[in-house]
Symmetry: C2
Subunit: 180 residues, 2 copies
C-alpha cells in the first residue's frame, strides 16, 4: 500500500475540503459531492484513499481534538485546568467540529455500532485523564470520588457545548473556569 506523492497530496486536499465543508454546511450538508467538488476530485479518487465518508469526517475531528491536547503524545502530566482549557479552546476555535463530535455521540449509537464504538472509547480515555488529573490535584486517595467528579465535570463541559450551539452569546470560558 505504498503511496505516491500525488496520493498523499490528494489525501490532504480531501481532508481540507472535508473540514471546510463541515464548517460551512454542517455534518448533513457535507455530502460526498460537496467534498469532491471542493477538493477537485472525482468520487472514485476519494474512495481510493478513504474507505468511507465517515472515515474522512472522523479523521478531521480527531486531528482537531489532538491539536488542542496539552500532551498529545501521552507523556507528561495533565492538570485539570489544562484539560478544561483544551476543551474550551476546541469549542471556541472549531465550533463546527465540536458540533460534529457531539452529533456523532448523540446520533451514532443507533447506527452500525462501529463509529459510536470509537467515540465511546475516546470518551472513556478522556474520563480517565480527568480522573487522574483531579485525583492528583486534589490529593484524593479515593479514586472513585475523583471519577465521580470527572464525570460530572466532563458532562458539564459537553452540556456547555450544546448550550453555545443554541445560544452563542453564552460565555463558555467563564462557566468553565468556575469548574476548577
Amino acid at each position: 500500500m505504498g503511496r505516491y506523492r500525488a496520493g498523499i497530496e490528494t489525501r490532504q486536499r480531501i481532508l481540507t475540503a472535508t473540514r471546510d465543508a463541515l464548517a460551512e454546511s454542517g455534518l448533513d450538508g457535507t455530502t460526498l459531492k460537496a467534498i469532491c467538488e471542493r477538493a477537485g476530485v472525482q468520487p472514485g479518487s476519494f474512495y481510493n484513499l478513504f474507505p468511507s465518508k465517515e472515515e474522512a469526517v472522523l479523521t478531521v475531528v480527531r486531528e482537531a481534538i489532538e491539536a488542542v491536547d496539552p500532551h498529545p503524545d501521552g507523556e507528561g502530566i495533565d492538570r485539570p485546568a489544562e484539560l478544561v482549557e483544551a476543551f474550551v479552546r476546541f469549542l471556541e476555535g472549531q465550533p463546527f467540529l465540536a458540533r460534529v463530535y457531539l452529533q456523532i455521540a448523540v446520533t451514532g449509537a443507533v447506527g452500525d455500532g462501529h463509529l459510536i464504538g470509537r467515540i465511546r472509547r475516546h470518551r472513556e480515555r478522556r474520563v480517565e485523564r480527568f480522573t487522574d488529573a483531579i485525583a492528583r490535584d486534589a490529593g484524593l486517595t479515593d479514586r472513585s470520588e475523583a471519577q465521580r467528579r470527572a464525570e460530572l465535570m466532563l458532562a458539564t463541559l459537553e452540556g456547555l457545548a450544546i448550550a453555545t450551539f443554541l445560544d452563542p452569546t453564552i460565555d463558555v470560558r467563564k462557566h468553565a473556569q468556575s469548574l476548577i
Copy 2:
C-alpha cells in the same frame, strides 16, 4: 378545519406509532414509511393531519416533556429539586425521546432554522424557570448570579444525558442529586 371523530383517532394512532418507532429505531430510522406502517395508514392520510414528519416527531417529544413537568400549567412554584427530578424522570423514563431532543438541538441549527427556533425558545424558558427557582431557593437578590448557576446546572444535566447514551451504566440520578 373542524375534524371528524375518525380524523382525531387517526391522529392519535399516528402519534403512538411515531413514539414507538422512535423508541425502536431512533430518529433516523423513523421514516414516514415506518410511521405509516405502524399506524396502518397511507402517506396521504398522514399529510392530511400533519404538515410534516418533523411536526409529528416534535409533538411526541413535547408531550413527553410536559408529562414530567411538575407544574405543566405554568401555575405553582418550582423548586430546584423538582426541576432536576423532572429531568431525571424524563431521561430514565423515555431515554429515546431524550436522545431525539438532544439530537435536534445539536443537529438542528444548520437546518431550516424553524425547528431549531422552537428548541431554542423551549430552552430559554427552561433557563428562566431554573433561574427563578434557584434565586428563590438560595434567597439570591442578584438575578444574574442565579442565572449563571441555572445555565451551569442545565448544561450539566444535558451533558449527563449525553453521557448516559455513551455509557448507560452511569448513575444519572446520583450525579444529578449532587447538584442541589
